[in-house]
Amino acid sequence: MIGVGRLKKNGRPSYSINLKGFLPGLTYMPGETTLHRLHPLIKLELLICYGLMVFALPHYIPGLCLLIILLAAYQAAGMGLTFFWRKLRFIIIFGSLIFFVHLIFVHKGVLLWQSSLLGLQLQIWSAGVTDGLSLLFRFINIISSSYLFVATTDPNSLAYSLMQVGLPYRFGFMLITSLRFIPVFYMELSQVRNAQMAKGIDLEGFSLKKFSLIIRYLFVPLVVSALSKVDSLTISMESRAFGLHQKRTYLEQRSFTRRDWLQVILVLGCSLAFYLVMHRYI
């Protein structure tokens, strides 16, 4: 999700498309913890297994267990609960909203509580609580686990690892070049906004005409700049033989060691065991 926010601090950037309001600081945070050092593909395997379990076990108890495991992982990654709350506050608040909507509108199971408020009949049913909690945990677990993955995995290392296990290298470099140009385009965006202000294009207040003007004056220079950068990048990559051969070699070998293979099996085994235990219980 992309939000349009006004960052006034130090005067720039003023209007900028950013993820800060929704997922603050969603970026890789280098560290030396076990989780950081884990092979990126094993972390990807963990994320996939975790995600599968979140969906395969649609109940609040496994959801709660998965959340506890995730919080332990945050702790192990040196981030802790304060970090979790600070960075994912919006997600938790949004998840709580989902919970309350279920609590109020799902009328199944056993009636737990009822009251009348300003002529409105409020009822809370058991299914409303369980379904609400289940969705709340599912929502938090999926987003928080992805967040933890991004925060502890060097994207460059992930892309190179994926290419070395068979991802066509053209796709791998799509990811790498995108990451490479994020700071470039972010800077350009702020420069375009500055240029708009310098031309006296007043963006205080809101009207449809003003909004269409902002969009037009923002996207035209950005798209032109992006296209010119793509031209230059293509020349640079092709002149260094990119795409000449079906395969390529790599300076840094990120292949799997025996220990890595053991970790792969361990992750699969633990995930399966967790699933079987929980499935039997629910």
Binding site: N10, T177, V184, M197, M237, E238
Partner: protein
């Protein structure tokens, strides 16, 4: 005799959709180890020549190519750019957009990995290439944290790692400050002295290259013209004349303040800043800056990239709010005033014109500032017409502004500001991409503004221009204003501090350039 690395025979190329050939009947031979400098005005076909030498033309660009291009014994008509990768390497103008990976090591290894070399050989090549450009200790650095000069040296290393027989550098210093420029050019010099690679450099800043160039090739309108009409090239700054409406072809303005109808120097500053401090995250971008400018002053802002020059212009216009300090215009405190209020009195042009072109036609773009900021719209629009004519842009009035050359875009953004006549002009490197004639026009307009009592604050990396046109220099270093005073004194102080790259003396006198060309 050794086989030539480059052999061009009757090369003519016309881009699809164009009637005029970009290159006409080019014949050129370059031998191994030779150092060739190619120069010429903007749009003369230099970059097209580089694309032909690397095989991108005819394979990646639509158009008609005639003649032969033989690179390292291979005909480019049957050999793609990728297949020529180990033979010819190209370094482009913009260091930002030619680096495709996230860190230095991956960038240099990128080429050798693509040609499937084994890891131990790649490692050897990476080590060698990084050491050749002086970046040996940079292997773990992230690309986006490098300076412009370091990025350009990295781009050279990444091409060198392919061990090409021919290295082509297309204006490698165009986007760099004097320090970055010196870094890159000394790397090129070192490569020429230590390696056997043939080098072709397309460049305007000849003063550094001529001493070790084997040949200087001059291009004009798609042809190699040798030493013809050399006075039209950029490196002749020291001899230029400033043309304006009042004094066509007059000598450069002296340091005296000959403002029309006004006293030589007003006692009251038109613009003053007091104790300005700006912080970005943990870094101080400007530290306690104070100065005043009087009507009729043209001040050059100089300093390395990242020293706070652009931030200063943004603070003056209000784009960037200072953490501390105040800005005064005509005695009034405008620190809290909005950008659109200040923009009526201060016209800013940005370094990269692409960021400030919003409209679909040149004429609409030229009028855009006036629509939002002019006090008298009708007069301002009339002035737009006159300025388009004067700055050779009237023939493009219905064209898309993005299709213009860099120099034309710069002139267009300058015109749009000049048309609504703000008393203060804030110009971020306005002279880039201008040939001699256009440079004189631009400086003439700045001089005219000065004569009318206006102030110009211009970020400029060309010491001869500063010497000739500015009465005052503000020199920045790491956010500090380390010198503020008359131009002559500024150059003396910079010489004392060993900042030779900022001295006009470092540029060639015309006689020296002529001599070099006669010798080629």
């Amino acid at each position: 005799m050794e086989e030539p690395v480059v052999k061009l025979e009757g090369l003519t190329f016309t881009y699809a959709g164009s009637e005029t050939p970009a290159l006409k009947d080019i014949n050129l031979t370059v031998r191994p180890g030779e150092f060739v400098t190619v120069t010429g005005p903007s749009g003369c076909g230099k970059s097209t020549l580089a694309l032909c030498l690397t095989g991108f033309i005819p394979h990646s660009f639509d158009g008609v190519m005639e003649g032969k291009v033989i690179i390292g014994g291979r005909d480019t008509r049957t050999c793609t750019a990728g297949e020529l990768a180990g033979i010819a390497g190209l370094v482009q103008q913009d260091p930002e957009s030619q680096l495709c990976t996230l860190n230095v090591l991956d960038e240099v290894a990128f080429g050798p990995e693509n040609i499937c070399l084994p890891p131990d050989i790649i490692k050897e090549r990476v080590k060698w290439a990084l050491s050749a450009v002086g970046l040996s200790g940079f292997t773990d650095r992230l690309v986006h944290t490098l300076s412009g000069g370091e990025k350009q040296r990295l781009a050279i290393a990444s091409v060198l790692a392919m061990r090409p027989q021919l290295l082509i550098l297309d204006e490698p210093t165009a986007n760099l400050d004097p320090r970055g420029c010196r870094e890159v050019l000394s790397v090129i010099k070192k490569l020429h002295q230590e390696q056997k690679t043939a080098i072709i450099v397309i460049e305007h800043r000849l003063q550094y290259l001529l001493p070790f160039s084997d040949r200087l090739i001059l291009m004009e309108e798609g042809r190699i013209t040798g030493e013809q009409q050399p006075q039209r090239f950029h490196y002749y700054y020291p001899t230029f004349k400033v043309k304006d409406d009042q004094q066509t072809g007059s000598a450069c303005p002296s340091s005296s303040h000959d403002v029309d109808g006004k006293s030589a120097l007003s006692n009251k500053p038109l613009l003053a800043v007091e104790d300005i401090t700006v912080k970005y995250e943990q870094k101080i971008a400007l530290k306690r800056i104070s100065f005043s400018l009087y009507p009729g002053e043209t001040a050059a802002v100089m300093g390395d990239n990242g020293s706070g020059k652009t931030t200063l212009l943004h603070v003056l216009l209000g784009i960037c709010k200072p953490d501390q300090g105040r800005v005064f215009f005509d005695g009034e405190d405008i620190t809290g005033a909005g950008v659109s209020r200040r923009a009526r009195d201060m016209g800013l042009t940005f370094q990269n014109p692409n960021h400030q072109l919003f409209e679909r036609t040149v004429i609409k773009e030229a009028r855009l500032h006036s629509h939002f900021l002019a006090a008298d719209l009708e007069q301002s629009l009339k002035r737009v017409e006159q300025l388009l004519e004067r700055f050779d842009l009237s023939s493009y009035r219905e064209q898309v502004p993005f299709a213009l050359s860099l120099g034309e875009k710069k002139r267009l953004t300058f015109i749009s500001v000049l048309a609504y006549q703000p008393p203060i002009l804030l110009l971020d490197e306005p002279l880039v991409g201008q040939d001699m004639e256009r440079l004189e026009l631009l400086l003439g307009a700045i001089n005219e503004h000065r004569r009318q009592g206006g102030i110009t604050i211009m970020i400029c990396h060309e010491p001869p221009v500063v010497k000739c046109c500015c009465q005052r220099v503000l020199f920045f270093e790491d956010g500090n204003l380390i010198f503020d005073g008359p131009t002559e004194e500024a150059f003396n102080e910079l010489a004392r501090r060993g900042r030779d790259e900022y001295l006009p003396q470092s540029c060639f006198a015309p006689e020296a350039v002529k001599g070099a060309m006669m010798g080629s």
